[in-house]
Amino acid sequence: MKVFRWAMVFFLLSSCSTKQITGLPELNDVNSADIGGRQIQKSCEHTFVKGQYQFVHSIVFQMANGHGATVIGVTVLEGDILKTGLMGVEGFVLFEAVLSREKQLEVSRALPPFDTTEFASGLMRDVQAIFYVPTDKHPRTGKLADGTPVCRYLEDNDQITDIILNVDGSRGINVYDMGHKKSRSIIVGSRIPVDGEMIPEALELKAHGLQGYTLHMTLISAEKIDK
């Protein structure tokens, strides 16, 4: 009986742990110099828009404790310059910042609770993860155990970003810290054409960890601004 009880405990623990895989998954390499590898890399890069755009999203922000709010998010991509703003639905600006070409962050407006350095840098990191292709020019290409194609980018700070090309056409972006623990996961929903680029209609970003949160982003408008 005692053995049975321990077996049950072990079974429950092991089944729980399989649901919480947050480490870096194994990748079966597909040579990026081969046709297959090049195709995977090209598809990964197509996850992100090229050119200069202004995006407006409604963002449902949800904290791990269940609290949340709806805000309007503005993202302006001007080449290497990233501008972002958050405002209440009534139009009152809560946060406004620009990340320069030299990666200098200039916050022009930040009202509580958005007035901390951590929030500003975290938000810009999230926005970059969503809208910018990682800087590694030579990602590994390969497939996960279930055959899903993946590009793996290694950043200068040892952060790893996986772009996952799902069979149903949706894309996933997983970011791992230097300890290979998943820090962000992004689901890129179905995409619509806007001025020659495919723009996601919906995005979901999940920040993992004790102070985790989820952003549900729904596209309100996308405008090309370098016509």
Partner: protein, 197 residues
Amino acid sequence: MIRWASIVFSLLICVSLVQAKDIPEQPPLRVESVQADFTQEKQLPILARPLFSKGRFLFQAPDSLRWEYFSPVHTVLLMYNGGICKFVQHGDRFVEEQGMGVDSMHIVLQEITGWLDGEITDTPTFKAHVKDNNLIILTPREAALANIISSIELKLLDRTGLMESVTLYEGGDSLTRMVFSAGILNENIPARLFTEP
């Protein structure tokens, strides 16, 4: 943040009531209710193109309010019988969001009452300067608020006593302009519009 946001919000409500105030050469008019559509334009230095919103505003004296945005996000803010709540449409249903506390509600009511009493020049929050009869400029009394809102311009429609627009300058090149249309004064508004999203 909530307090200042609510002051701005209450101001936007209150300025709509100016339409019924005793502007020079017109007899004072008691405000029982106000209804108006609005288009809101938002300009920010980071924006390549301005953002536009549309909505409708309802007020019933002494303290009932419905402030509704139809686009880009359908939200409804309701004040009724001392309570305040905000709803956001998700799919085909409205979900209540927490945000404004009791303190904020008191500020809102205080501002509304002041304006209904015709105390344009005497609100605890703003100094008013009347310009050309049809233009009123409000500036914050407190430095802390002035860091967030530099001034507000209320433009009245000539002679009609109706509000034409409200422009809220947030400093720098940031502004929010609300242009009102189809304004109706003192017509009965069903009570359920202040209690249901």
